[in-house]
Each structure stands twice: as structure tokens, then as C-alpha cells.
């Protein structure tokens, strides 16, 4: 398969997958249990989910390793199993896609706040990410996706861990922004301009945003990224912000709506479009087909 970055640089639009957690819960993940623990026992479920998104037309399939850094796994006393948890997840996706899609190894926040704001030393967070990144490199993935980060400093730690332990594997760096009347900021106060420049300087291959917003805000976020970087942009939008209806969580954006709006993401300069919370294989299928039709017209 042609290299991921080459295709992006040739101007191709690639589609990534959607939410995994909700599909895991439908298949028996008990609320409050560690989603990554399934990587030790239920590889079949991981393969099945990867297959659903592959069938929906995703070019990039993520692994179930969002909370797979030892610091995060420590909450479930699974930190000693971090390496095998991450390697198994990659192996499962590899089995399911067998070369038909890129494997994107997901890495989420440590769950800790760095000193002096919190109580955790940066060395500790760096080491934790290094363990996860080493496992990614050993198992072999096509790209690493560091996502849902809300602190640029923590993102830089994860990025440097990836570059050190998995040299040669491209890294996508994706942060979560809140819409405020004064513009988009992470909870720690990082702006898009500063984020784009800092990550580009630090060697990120792809920059962007996931989670925290529906697709209309994501279009604005993408435009702002485009103003400040020439790197390929990744956007993984929520299906809107969650609402409670009759005690059930409900994400308001339909597959049709997101597919329609995906065109504006492309216009804004986005190269990789995927889904975050609330998106389903149907969302990805509709986005895929809309983008395919639209590219032909161009």
C-alpha cells in the first residue's frame, strides 16, 4: 500500500473511522471497566469493530489503545500489562484489515496534570508514553494518533516519546478545543495558532482536532489550522454534543448531516476526516460516499 503521507501530499482525502467505545459497550464492555482490558481477552470483538469500519469505507482504522499508557492503565492496576495490551490491539486490527487500510495507533491523555498545576512530574508522563510508543513500534502500525489532548505541554511529551521510540512512523497530533466567545481554546488555554506552530516545530506530521465539538465548529477549527500550518489536517468530529433524552445519551448529528458538512471540511483544507464520540459506521459510510462523489465532480 502506498505510504499514507505520500497520498496526503498528493492531495487525496482519506477517511478515518468513528467511535469505538459505544460499539464495545454494545458488545459487553461493562461501564466503569477498562476498555483496553478487552485487548487481553476479546480480540474477536476488536477485529469485528475494525471490520465494520473497513466495510464502511474507512481508509484508516484506529486501535483500542486510547487509554493504553501505563499511567492511565494504573487506574485499573493494569500498568504492568501495558505492552501486551497495546501490541494485541494492533495485531487485532492488522488481522481484520490485512493491508486494506492503514492502522492508526491511538494514544490519549495520561489523565494527570503536569506540575506546577497538578502533581505529576513531566518525566513520569514521558516515560509512560514511551512504554506505549515502544509497543506501537514493536507491533508495527502505519501511523500514530495522539488525540483528545487538552494540554499542549502533554502533547509535546507524547510526540517526543513517539519520535524517540517509533522513529519513522508518522504522527498525527489532535487536540480538543472549546468554543468560547473569544475563540477556540483548550481547557489549558492553548490557542490553535500556537498549537499549530508548536506542533509543526516539534515534528508532527499531521495536526488537527478531535472531540469536544460538532462538525460545524470543526469546520471553523480546520480553517484556523489552515491559516497557520501547511501540514495535512486531521478532523475527527463528534456527532454533535451529547444530550440526554429519556435517560439515554443522544448525539444529534445524523450521518446525512455530517456527510453534507464533510464537504466544507475538505474546502477548509482537511486531508483526513473521521468521527469521534457519537459517530457510527453509518456516519463513516455516508461521509465516504459523499466525499467520493464530490471528488469526482471536482
Amino acid at each position: 500500500m502506498e505510504r499514507l503521507l505520500d497520498r496526503l501530499h498528493d492531495g487525496e482525502i482519506l477517511i478515518a473511522d468513528g467511535a469505538i467505545g459505544s460499539l464495545l459497550i454494545e458488545r459487553g464492555l461493562i461501564s466503569g471497566h477498562c476498555p483496553e482490558e478487552l485487548n487481553l481477552t476479546q480480540l474477536g470483538i476488536l477485529e469485528e469493530i475494525a471490520g465494520l469500519y473497513l466495510d464502511a469505507g474507512a481508509d484508516i482504522i484506529q486501535t483500542n489503545t486510547f487509554g493504553g499508557s501505563p499511567l492511565k492503565l494504573a487506574a485499573y492496576s493494569l500498568e504492568d500489562k501495558a505492552s501486551i495490551i497495546n501490541r494485541n490491539a494492533i495485531a487485532a486490527v492488522m488481522n481484520a484489515v490485512s493491508g486494506r487500510a492503514y492502522i492508526s495507533a491511538s494514544c490519549g491523555p495520561s489523565g494527570k496534570l503536569l506540575k506546577p498545576y497538578g502533581d505529576t512530574d513531566s518525566e513520569l508522563i514521558l516515560e509512560s508514553f514511551e512504554v506505549q510508543m515502544r509497543a506501537f513500534a514493536e507491533a508495527g502500525c502505519d501511523v500514530i494518533c495522539i488525540e483528545t489532548m487538552m494540554d499542549l505541554e502533554e502533547m509535546l511529551l507524547a510526540l517526543s516519546a513517539a519520535k524517540k521510540m517509533a522513529p519513522g512512523i508518522p504522527v498525527m497530533t489532535s487536540m480538543t478545543f472549546n468554543a468560547t466567545p473569544r475563540g477556540f481554546f483548550t481547557i489549558m488555554g492553548d490557542r490553535i495558532e500556537q498549537t499549530a506552530h508548536t506542533l509543526e516545530d516539534a515534528g508532527a506530521d499531521i495536526v488537527g482536532s478531535n472531540c469536544g465539538n460538532g462538525i460545524e465548529n470543526m469546520i471553523r477549527i480546520a480553517r484556523e489550522f489552515r491559516e497557520h500550518t501547511g501540514l495535512p489536517i486531521l478532523i475527527q468530529s463528534n456527532a454533535g454534543l451529547p444530550e440526554m433524552r429519556d435517560g439515554e445519551v443522544f448525539y444529534p448529528e445524523t450521518p446525512e448531516f455530517m456527510a453534507l458538512k464533510a464537504e466544507e471540511l475538505v474546502d477548509a483544507g482537511v486531508s483526513i476526516i473521521g468521527g469521534c464520540c457519537g459517530t457510527t459506521p453509518e456516519h463513516i459510510r455516508m461521509i465516504r460516499s459523499r466525499i467520493a462523489d464530490w471528488s469526482k465532480q471536482e
Partner: protein
């Protein structure tokens, strides 16, 4: 007063060392501890809370200001107790069981403390039983619960039900918050209120006490 203004300003800038030194200086000048707390520390935290609400400052600034507040309160607390000064009220807070994210809850705790309330933080992974027994043992007037995961929200409902069974309902007010939580959900489970952000949670708690909890 000049000295108390400096305490407030240094606190807003997160200068914990300076705030502690100025607090000691104020005590040496025989300024009553309650005045140092209200017109220095709480006044500063109020500005921090308002700026945070208006997105002028962000989480790091709030956390540093809170650290300064906490350090100065370590100096003042024994003296306040000695003076028999009542706090504005006592609140038990925590993130519900199995919900491991606690940034929001910590922020609410910081802002409540900053507003002069006594906050008992039960931490993460707090069961319904733990909320209820802590509220009873500590004689708290409010229970504040945070959930970030939709899957853990039912614990909030359990707390409301348990408060009913234990005869605490109506005596202890219940406030809920967190990304997936809503006003509708609060109504549905019978919680007293929903705080849509940290600053709003403080306003709501102040409202409880104004009504007479």
C-alpha cells in the same frame, strides 16, 4: 486596605509564596483572620472565578491561584477555628464511582473554597454509600457530584434515592454537574440543581444558602 489588595492581586497571579508572606504580615498587623480571608483571599478568588467564567484566563491560572489560596488558608484556618468563625457552609464533593476524570470536580471544589465554603473532597470513584455517609458524618448541607462519562451517571440517581431512604432528602441539597449531565437529567432523577460550569455551581450553592438550606 492596601495590604489585603496586594494579597488579592498576588493570589490572582498565582504567587503562593508571596501570598503566604503577606498573610503573615497582615496577622502581625493585627488584621482579623476573617478579614484577611474575605477581603484578601476570597476577593482574589472571586476575580479569578469571574475571569475564568469569561474565558480571560484558563485552568492553569485557576490552579495556581487555588494553590496560593490553600497555602494561605493553612496559616489562617487554626486562627479562624480559634475565633469560632463559622464557614459559609459545608459541602461534600466527589466524582462518582467508576468515573476517573476529576478536573471538573477539582475546579468546582477550588471555586467553592474560594467563595468561602468548607469543601470536603471525597476524590474519585466515590460510591453512593460514601457520598451519603460523608454528608451525614460531616453534617454537610450540600452534596456535589460530578460525572464525565454517561455510563457512570446512574450513581447520581442512586445518591438521590439513598438520600430519600435515609431521610436526608430536602435537608441536604444535591448538585450535579459534568459534561454529559443536564438540567433535564437533574430534574429526572430528583437532584436539586445542575451546575453547567464551575462558576455556575458556586452561584447555585450560594443560592441554596440564600434560600436557607
Amino acid at each position: 486596605m492596601e495590604l489585603l489588595n496586594r494579597i488579592s492581586e498576588d493570589l490572582q497571579n498565582g504567587m503562593d509564596e508571596a501570598v503566604v508572606i503577606l498573610t503573615q504580615e497582615a496577622l502581625e498587623k493585627n488584621i482579623p483572620p476573617i478579614e484577611i480571608m474575605n477581603d484578601g483571599l476570597v476577593a482574589g478568588m472571586n476575580v479569578v472565578g469571574r475571569k475564568f467564567k469569561d474565558h480571560e484566563i484558563f485552568l492553569p491560572d485557576v490552579l495556581l491561584a487555588a494553590r496560593a489560596m490553600n497555602r494561605a488558608m493553612e496559616v489562617l484556618k487554626p486562627l479562624l477555628i480559634e475565633d469560632g468563625i463559622p464557614t459559609r457552609g459545608r459541602i461534600v464533593i466527589g466524582s462518582v464511582k467508576d468515573d476517573l476524570h476529576d478536573i471538573g470536580k477539582n475546579l468546582v471544589g477550588i471555586l467553592l473554597k474560594g467563595a468561602g465554603f468548607e469543601v470536603i473532597d471525597l476524590g474519585n470513584d466515590v460510591s453512593a454509600e460514601m457520598f451519603i455517609s460523608a454528608a451525614r458524618e460531616q453534617n454537610a448541607q450540600v452534596i456535589g457530584m460530578s460525572a464525565l462519562l454517561t455510563t457512570t451517571m446512574p450513581v447520581m440517581k442512586q445518591v438521590v434515592e439513598m438520600a430519600r431512604e435515609e431521610g436526608l432528602y430536602g435537608k441536604v441539597r444535591i448538585l450535579i454537574g459534568g459534561a454529559p449531565v443536564s438540567k433535564e437529567y437533574a430534574r429526572e432523577i430528583g437532584a436539586d440543581a445542575y451546575g453547567f460550569d464551575g462558576a455556575n455551581a458556586v452561584d447555585t450553592v450560594e443560592g441554596f444558602f440564600a434560600e436557607g438550606t
